[in-house]
């Protein structure tokens, strides 16, 4: 398993975000996440700008594993990026 840091931009209400978090937890992978919809004002704006840099379509989850960007709950791509 690689030691790449994992970051998830997610929505609190999105099914595939939940599945992604569950998948990573099940694989005992540590990750940071931010539920963008729970943020407000300037903070939300700034984070959305960040997401757009990785994923211009700005959809969730947007998952950053090391230098890889994965959009959506895609098990196989995540496994590969994580070296699982």
């Amino acid at each position: 398993m690689s030691d790449n840091p994992v970051k998830i931009y997610s929505l609190s209400t999105c099914s595939h975000c939940k599945s992604t978090k569950k998948f990573l937890s099940d694989c005992t992978v540590m990750y940071d996440f931010v539920d963008v919809d729970l943020l407000e004002g300037e903070e939300r704006k700034a984070i959305l700008e960040d997401v757009k840099k990785f994923n211009p379509k700005c959809s969730f989850p947007t998952i950053i594993i090391g230098d890889k960007v994965i959009v959506g709950f895609k098990e196989n791509e995540m496994r590969e990026a994580l070296g699982l």
Partner: protein, 721 residues
């Protein structure tokens, strides 16, 4: 059919309309069952198995000519144990013996007459036979004599038994395949499209020379392919080709005589290449599948021509094909007593299409001279009749209505405004429909089949989603309730196949499960009652447990032990006039996975796609419905979750937007406080779904990633575009 024999045979105790049509034959018919098998064994007699369905024209002809003939009946009764079978009750047996006859003579159809050894092994058969020899055609009488003579000659009997064994071995291998499967050909979809392009009749529409069948599965594939091509790079042209072929075909059919221009609904198939002269029976399954075709055409093109066909066909089903307690009848016959037969000396012979065809003088009499002339021009009515292809002389002087001229042409011809003409034609149609209602009706096959009802529940639910006519939803819902009440046992979880006059019979087959599940998913997406979804999920588990071939993929038609006399469990690998149960099951599994947040069907989906599609690599056009499933499995899944008041105008408007898109395989879920916790049992995430600013809110996900929620239908439109 007619009651020539005063005493009925055993078929009088059956409920199948087809079997009852033969209850007064002098032939001593048995239904499929032990009594017949035991007699055949005890008396060492061959079995004559005769298969058909109640609205089958040539079945009626053979019945009148041969099975009503006392001398022929005597020959049959003396030498054979004669069994009548309704293929709509037992599609599994039909498939087996149809395959046997195809293997023997290269083609097959109905009536299907098969000769079996007492062990029920087929050794010879055919379809229609004339009572006396015609040029090049063996007569039924001669065939009966030849076969019984062979059976009574020891050396020939031996040969006959061994050929029965050999044929059974061949059809078992063919129908219950267990081949290992390879990868799906990467060009399969394009190859299928090319095959359809080659088969396509560019001028007249359709995918074969005459006779032309409506082929709803093909159009279904073409629309899905169009969407697929539009949403992948570099494939736009082939998408347009697909769209064009489907649209041309649907237009040609709906302007032709295969479409009931007055009453809506489609007849069985066209005997000529230009869709003018049909076989007039109307089948529930054709109309259900075609309804969805025309709905898809309307969604894609927004051409109200297609919408009109949807409405007229749905109205036909509601008017003529719906049981008062809910549920849909199976079919209407082609033949009926001509309306003027009373005047001609009480001549009561049924004639094909008599209910539907018109002489020009009749039209004039109903409509008056001027509207009569305008109607005649528009619908191609000629004083001498308009049927060029009339091999049996049924249509001399008669007209089969078809849209001969457009509204513009008709308006031009009579120098009237288009509106005037449209209004006049509308009124004329109503008057003629009323006049037609006084004619003797064709026989109605009023049995209620779970599988075919599933197809119509699906069609009317989808029609409601798009057109918002509450009557369609009510009819779909009533049919689902009817099946739940009369054809399903919630204690034993057993689904049955056929209901008629209070009797349910025959345990469900894979197609009953698959088509009903499809109907329930579409019904859920129409009224958002989670009960339909829960039932669909339960039935899906049952279907996999009972019919899935865990070893090789694919679905058997029947459960284990369905018929103790028949070991062979058939697996269909092609779509016919109805899609195979396996094709629809894969489609259902792909859709249900989105409603149940579940990966548990993925093996069933992959294994079935691979095993069937690798078998049909060289003829990819033989399973168009399964190709639709393949397309959906490759598309980014689209899911829309709406949190809103189910009766609120905001919610309606959001749903209207979502349902105005043609997106194969999309899933729509409605959450409100009355059902939130119930839905969360299958879809845990819905417990966290909420409304923003107390407004109806849509959550749109595509390809397993989601967009921030929106409350404006316009924004949903942008997201789905």
């Amino acid at each position: 059919m007619s009651e020539a024999n005063s005493r009925p045979n055993r078929l009088i105790h059956e409920k199948s309309p087809y079997l009852l049509q033969h209850a007064y034959n002098p032939v001593d018919w048995y239904p499929w069952g032990d009594e017949a098998f035991e007699k055949s064994k005890a008396e060492n007699k061959l079995v004559l198995l005769s298969i058909g369905y109640s609205t089958c024209h040539w079945c009626h002809v053979m019945e009148k000519e041969s099975f009503m003939n006392p001398n022929i009946a005597e020959l049959m009764n003396h030498n054979f144990v004669c069994i009548k079978l309704d293929r709509e009750e037992r599609p599994d047996l039909d498939k087996i013996y149809l395959t046997a006859v195809s293997a023997l003579i290269g083609s097959a159809g109905w009536p299907l007459n098969v000769f079996l050894t007492p062990e029920l092994k087929p050794f010879y058969g055919g379809t229609y036979f004339p009572p006396v020899a015609q040029s090049g055609m063996l007569s039924w009488t001669d065939l009966l004599k030849l076969i019984s003579a062979a059976w009574n000659d020891p050396s020939k009997k031996k040969k006959l038994l061994s050929s029965g064994q050999e044929l059974s071995r061949i059809i078992t291998n063919h129908l219950s395949w267990s081949s290992s499967h390879g990868p799906i050909d990467t060009n399969l979809l394009d190859n299928a499209l090319n095959n359809f392009s080659t088969r396509f009749d560019r001028k007249l529409g359709g995918f074969s020379p005459a006779p032309k069948f409506p082929s709803p599965s093909i159009q279904n594939f073409l629309y899905a392919y169009y969407f697929y091509a539009k949403n992948s790079v570099q494939k736009d042209e082939s998408g347009d080709t697909a769209l064009e072929m489907a649209n041309v075909t649907l237009r040609a059919m709906a302007t032709g005589g295969i479409y009931d221009q007055l009453g809506g609904g489609f007849h069985r198939y066209s005997t000529d290449a230009k869709w003018h002269v049909p076989h007039f029976e109307k089948m529930l399954y054709d109309n259900a599948q075609l309804l969805k075709n025309y709905l898809d055409a309307f969604l894609i093109t927004r051409d109200t021509f297609f919408e009109k066909v949807v409405r007229e066909t749905a109205d036909y089903v509601l008017r003529d094909m719906t049981h008062p307690d809910g549920g849909f009848y199976s079919a209407e016959d082609a033949d009926s007593i001509p309306p003027d037969s009373g005047e001609n000396g009480g001549h009561k012979k049924k004639i094909e299409g008599a209910f539907y065809v018109w002489e020009q003088r009749e039209i004039r009499a109903v409509l008056g001279p001027e509207p009569g002339e305008i109607f005649s021009y528009h619908y191609g009515v000629q004083p001498q009749g308009n049927v060029e292809y009339d091999p049996h002389g049924d249509f001399i002087g008669k007209n089969i209505l078809f849209a001969a001229h457009s509204l513009d042409e008709t308006a031009d011809k009579f120098s009237r405004s288009k509106n005037d003409i449209a209004q006049m034609l509308k009124e004329s149609k109503i008057k003629l429909l009323q006049a037609r209602a006084d004619r003797p009706r064709p026989h109605l096959d009023d049995k209620i089949l779970t599988s075919w009802n599933g197809l119509m529940i699906s069609a009317l639910s989808r029609a409601y989603q798009v057109l918002e006519d509450e009557r369609y939803l009510t009819a779909a819902r009533n049919a689902a309730k009817f099946i739940q009440k009369n054809l399903y046992s919630s204690e034993t979880k057993l689904l049955y196949r056929r209901w008629r006059k209070g009797e349910r019979k025959i345990v469900g087959m894979a197609s009953d499960y698959a088509f009903l599940i499809q109907g329930l998913i579409d019904l859920y997406e129409a009224d958002f009652d989670p009960g339909w979804l829960e039932w669909a999920l339960e039935l899906m588990d049952e279907q996999i447990a009972l019919f899935y071939d865990t070893k090789n993929g694919g679905f058997f038609m029947t459960r284990k032990g369905h018929d103790k006399k028949i070991d062979l469990r058939v697996k269909e690998d092609t779509d016919s006039v109805t899609p195979s149960a396996g094709s629809v099951a894969v489609l259902n599994a792909l859709r249900l996975a989105r409603f149940a947040d579940s990966g548990k069907y993925s093996t069933v989906v992959e294994q079935t796609l691979e095993s069937v599609l690798s078998r049909i690599n060289s003829q990819p056009d033989s399973a168009p419905e399964l190709l639709v499933a393949l397309i959906i499995s490759r598309l980014k899944p689209v899911e829309v979750v709406i949190d809103g008041d189910r009766n609120g105008e905001d919610t309606r408007s959001m749903l209207r937007t979502v349902n105005s898109f043609f997106i194969p395989g999309k899933a729509v879920i409605l959450v409100d406080n009355t059902i939130r916790s119930r839905l969360a049992r299958q879809l845990p995430f819905v417990s966290s779904v909420k409304r923003i600013d107390n407004k109806t809110t849509a959550y749109v996900c595509m390809g397993k990633s989601c967009k921030p929620p929106v409350t404006d239908p316009e924004k949903v439109k942008n997201l789905l575009n």
